[in-house]
Amino acid sequence: MIVAKRKPLGEIADMIAPYKKITVIGCRSCVAICLAGGEKEVKMLVSALKVKNKKEGRKQQFEALVVERQCEKEWIQEVEDKILDSDLVLSMACSLGAQTIGDNYPHKLAFPALNTGIFGVPEEQGVWSEKCVGCGNCIIHTTGGICPIARCAKSMLNGPCGGSSDGHCEVNLEIDCAWYAIHERLKLQNRLELIEQVSAPKDWSTSHSGGRRTYVREDAKLTQHQKKGKGAVR
């Protein structure tokens, strides 16, 4: 899932300081599950901002909402009234949420309350770790199921580098060395020969380096004939 983290409250407060009527919108998808932007977090953020305002004698009006998926315009349209009725939308979704609101209501301001971080896996409750960077060309079948692009600090294809120390990364001893892990995994699977070969330079054109990416499913796209006007989802 996409894992995000709330920005520090001070930063959020500064960001929204000039605005009076603020609608805070959370999202029930990834960010709810990673405890960053579900209903609880939205309510807590609003309450904390109100306490701060109270202390500092500032007046702002807040509305707290949550939508099913903020990255889809149909879900956002459900709360259109509230968006239009505010000076500022504070999005408690990944940056896709704030951008979807912005793209659909370009004259409105939609600010991010979260920092969107990683494609991560919950290792245990409250701990998420990065395991994919969305490079657009998956090779983990050759690396024991462990992605070196995301999990190696240097995205090496021919690791581990000389900084691998006791199976830890040179960047931080708390991080596991991805290539050490790949070596161990392949050994377990009896497939060590896979890393004996030289891996050629990666073609990064499938990643962000190839420019902004759009994935299309032609068979799923609606034809001009099928397209409907803006409609309610309920």
Partner: protein
């Protein structure tokens, strides 16, 4: 529900110091919305008063009640029973502890006490309107079986006493031990899986070659002691470290240990020192003295956070110190550490001197307690918690001396932590009796103020499932969380942590809590 409230004031305890003007309070109550009846009685615990208030409640078609008196558990339960009879739902009777929360603590400031009591009453009136009538449900226990895991000293005693209460006992014994036991003795058997909740557990047992399912009402864990594996940061950093008993064995076998010898209380010093039982210290001291006696120049250091030995064994501390054993005490600000790059040096902040000491050692031992190697698997299967020292942790004292946090599962003997046979047997007796009593109730009462999921809000994030100590939440057919009401204890932990606010605790919702807080804050006192 229409909302017809009765307010009962009790003069018995509240007016003893003549601090609160109960008349005024009740007068105020009578002016409040939806209050249809106000009664001030001499003593609400008195059966005459109970008759009086319930009679009036009936006449005025009261459906909710606020009692201004003492804590609920102190007030005569006959009051609640009478209301129940009069068709007032028991969950709509709200008690306000005027005596202990206002009258007694604020006797030096009557005006504020009066204002506070009034605010509490107003908050209670609002709260009682937010409550919903709830039901307590009953489920039959399918059997009166009590399963005892382990046929050692404590297990046998547990089975014997449980049988005396009328329960049918089944001992699951890992080995081939044969002994006379009431009920059934299953040898060569191990617990594989467990399902269900107190009263209706379903266990999967492998007996010899066969795997079978076994229903039971209660479980006694009596799996005994064993030796712990070493884990924890110190053990990881120093691979050659020994548990105390191994050091002991080697020394007794006449092996010369490489000096200096350092004994640290635990492989995980950040864990609480309480886990290192008296027992282990007895052993450590004895060992240190033995080594010193054999050779006066052996270099022995004992590093500890808190040291307590059994009774007269305390004297050994003195003896050891006199023989030249070095003692270093630390606390949370300077726990022992081993740098993996230097695995033969432990550094620790000496509390006495306030500075960090580096101890080079030839042999390192942990005075960690011996625990059963099977504990982890058993705890895992029964979903009960472990303590950091490798024992199974028991539940709150309020739940009873041999309880686990899960109702219906009891624990005794060295599975908790090592102890002598007679103590283990005594615990076994208690555990057996409690398990037998639990099973003989025959019914599980559940419901009332339990958690409830609003499925449309649930993100199926599993947070509730991971957090609940009782296995009450589970993912249902709709791939959303649901609550196994029979297992729910009503603590509300899942409610407080749900990121989607999809769970509420019946009659203790966010709205009720926050409204009560708000009203209490509005009061000026």
């Amino acid at each position: 529900m229409k909302g017809q409230i009765q307010v009962i004031g009790c003069k018995s305890c509240t007016e003893i110091p003549q601090l609160i003007d109960m008349n005024k309070l009740i007068e105020k109550a009578s002016t409040m919305d939806l209050v249809v009846s106000t009664v001030l009685v001499g003593a609400v615990c008195d059966s005459k008063s109970i008759k009086q208030v319930v009679q009036e409640a009936k006449e005025r078609e009261v459906d909710r009640v606020v009692v201004l008196a003492c804590p609920k558990k102190v007030v005569n339960p006959a009051l609640l029973a009478a209301f129940k009879k009069a068709k007032v739902n028991e969950f709509l009777v709200e008690y306000v502890n005027i005596r202990d929360e206002v009258v007694l603590p604020h006797m030096d400031d009557p005006p504020r006490a009066q204002a506070k009591a009034e605010t509490m009453m107003v908050a209670a009136l609002q709260k009682v309107m937010g409550l919903k009538p709830l039901e307590t449900l009953k489920e039959q226990m399918r059997t009166r079986n009590v399963v005892v895991l382990g046929g050692g000293a404590s297990g046998r005693k547990a089975a014997e006493t449980a049988a005396k209460t009328g329960a049918h006992t089944i001992i699951i014994e890992k080995g081939t031990k044969s002994f006379k036991a009431p009920g059934v003795l299953m040898q060569n058997s191990v617990l594989l899986k467990s399902k269900g909740y107190g009263g209706n557990f379903v266990l999967t047992i492998r007996a010899g070659e066969k795997v079978e399912e076994l229903q039971c009402a209660a479980i006694v864990v009596a799996t005994g002691g064993g030796w712990t594996r070493l884990n924890g940061p110190l053990a990881k950093a120093c691979k050659s470290a020994l548990p105390l008993y191994e050091l002991d064995e080697q020394i007794r076998a006449g092996k010369k240990m490489e000096g200096p010898i350092v004994i640290v209380d635990s492989p995980d010093p950040a864990g609480k020192s309480m886990q290192v039982r008296d027992y282990a210290w007895d052993e450590s001291l004895e060992l240190a003295i033995e080594l010193k006696r054999r050779s006066t120049d052996s270099d022995i250091t004992i590093v500890f956070q808190e040291m307590r030995a059994f009774g007269l064994s305390e004297l050994r501390y003195k003896e050891a110190a006199e023989l030249g054993v070095r003692f270093i005490r630390y606390d949370a600000t300077g726990i022992p550490k081993i740098d993996p790059k230097e695995p033969n040096v432990v550094s620790v902040k000496d509390l006495a001197q306030g500075e960090t000491i580096r101890l080079r050692f030839g042999t390192l031992a942990f005075a960690s307690i011996p625990a059963n190697d099977d504990n982890e698997g058993i705890a895992d299967t029964l979903r009960i918690p472990m303590s950091p020292d490798g024992g199974i942790r028991h539940g709150s004292i309020q739940r009873g001396p041999v309880s686990t946090p899960r109702p219906g599962i009891f624990i005794c003997g060295s599975a908790l932590f090592p102890k002598t046979k007679d103590i283990a047997e005594e615990e076994g007796m208690v555990a057996g009796e409690l398990a037998g009593e639990f099973a003989s109730k025959g019914i599980i009462e559940y419901g009332g103020s339990v958690a409830e999921v609003t499925q449309e809000k649930c993100s199926a994030c599993l947070t509730c499932i991971r957090t609940c100590p009782y296995e009450a939440p589970f993912i249902g057919i709709a791939n959303k969380a649901e609550i196994r009401t029979q297992a729910c204890q009503g603590c509300g932990m899942c409610v407080g942590i749900c990121p989607s606010k999809a769970i509420e605790l019946r009659n203790c919702t966010d709205d009720i809590i926050m409204q009560e807080t708000k009203t209490m804050l509005r009061g000026d006192f």
